[in-house]
Amino acid sequence: MLTKRIIACLDMDGGRVVKGVQFVNLRDAGDPAECAAAHARDGADEIVLLDITATSDKRKTMLGVVARTARCLFVPFTVGGGIRDLADAAAVFEAGADKIAINSAAVKDPALIGQIAARFGSQAVVVAIDARRVSNGSIKNGFEVFVAGGRTPTRRDALEWAREAAACGAGEILLTSMDRDGTKAGFDCELTQLVADAVSIPVIASGGAGSPQHFIDVFRDGRADAALAASIFHFGLENIGQLKRELQGAHVPVRWPC
């Protein structure tokens, strides 16, 4: 049976893993290569490394860190942050990533999704969407897309953008609720379900994980194919194995033992 994936995310700033609350107040949490290996040993189904300040600092992805992290990592490895064009993506693949995540650059130029997919396959292209609730009715489905690490609103509807990204050749959607990010208040199941039902490609829910129940909720109610979390793992609040055992107890199919 196809299992629900638990993805460990490493938010990286200046070559170190950090984690903020609602995209600010960054705290140091370790070396990316060591964190990635530890999560994989603990049972993470996949690792995502996001160079969260690459776009705002107007610099390229840190390829040395990517290569070092990829060297002995034998689970799927996604890298995002600072990828602006096909050449940037090619360099990240060359450094050892299996998939790239694009966010700001894809919003600016959706054709980039198709260009990367044509060369490396759709399975290698993850479109990351940072979405925030807006209540004034200005956005059709109530969730607005933000770019540049959550700093810049776009006036775009998250649901429509997800559909467009899938049509352009994206292989997966990494959907982050900015309202929930870092709060440990639970995933935004409403947002996740809205997008998961609208596209046929897998949707990875992100933002707000704080307890095993939150994962159960987002897999059941949010219909997520995968759920991503950062802080709860690397501050030792939960161990992935323990989380997976709890999910199994709730009849959520997971890869365990692994």
């Binding site: 990829a70 034998f74 689970v75 396959g121 759709s122 490609i201 890869r255």
Partner: protein, 212 residues
């Protein structure tokens, strides 16, 4: 006649050629074989493929990408090697290529080692099939030696290969399909062993350990 025992030099590790025909990223496959200490080379040269002891045909993306094999002399080189009994491992698209063809690119002929065509998943499930799914392993497979019967491996694909007599492991996703095929020296895996943690590394090690 007896003399002092000489220590024979270790035979050079058999060389594994990973065939590069321009379809996607071969880095991860190479990395996994490197990790296992295999003597492995990534090549787009038919001559290198022909001279190798074992052949790995990876591939991700669209079935039509396999057309590049036909235009470059690689198809003949790979088939010659496989027919001569060299261990051959097709990964993902490389496994689908072993069948007669795929509905994804009907105009392109596969190698036809196994009967049947690769088809899309039924509409009852989301496509592509992405993530960790379990194998139902048949006994006696050399590639799957020491692999637990319900092990999980990482898939990412939109088309699936039919069940055949050479199916060594099956997976269920809307329909039962061939996850591993094995016949003599010919092996194919639909999933990505290089991304399937210890289970996948074990299979690649088993492939490295085959006599060539």
């Amino acid at each position: 006649m007896t003399g002092p025992k000489t220590i024979a030099p270790l035979p050079a590790a058999p060389k594994i050629a990973i065939v590069d025909y321009g379809a996607g990223n071969l880095k991860s496959v190479k990395k996994a074989f490197d990790y296992l200490g295999a003597n492995v080379v990534v090549t787009s040269e038919p001559d290198v493929v022909v001279r190798a002891d074992k052949i790995v045909l990876p591939g991700v993306g669209h079935f039509s990408a396999l057309g590049a094999l036909d235009n470059t002399g690689l198809r003949e080189a790979v088939l010659r090697g496989a027919r001569s009994g060299k261990p051959f491992l097709g990964i993902c698209l490389g496994m689908q290529w072993l069948f007669e063809g795929s509905d994804e690119a009907p105009e392109l002929a596969g190698a036809g080692v196994f009967a049947g065509r690769c088809r899309a998943f039924p509409s009852s499930v989301k496509s592509p099939h992405v993530g960790w799914n379990s194998l139902t392993v048949r006994k006696g497979s050399r590639l799957l030696r020491d692999i637990a019967p319900e092990s999980f491996v990482y898939f990412t694909h939109s088309f699936q290969a039919p069940m055949v007599s050479a199916t060594a492991a099956e997976t269920d996703y809307g329909t039962k399909f061939s996850a591993v095929v094995e016949q003599g020296n010919i092996f194919g895996v639909q999933f990505h062993p290089e991304k399937s943690w210890n289970v996948g590394l074990r299979m690649l090690k088993n492939f490295c350990d085959l006599d060539s």
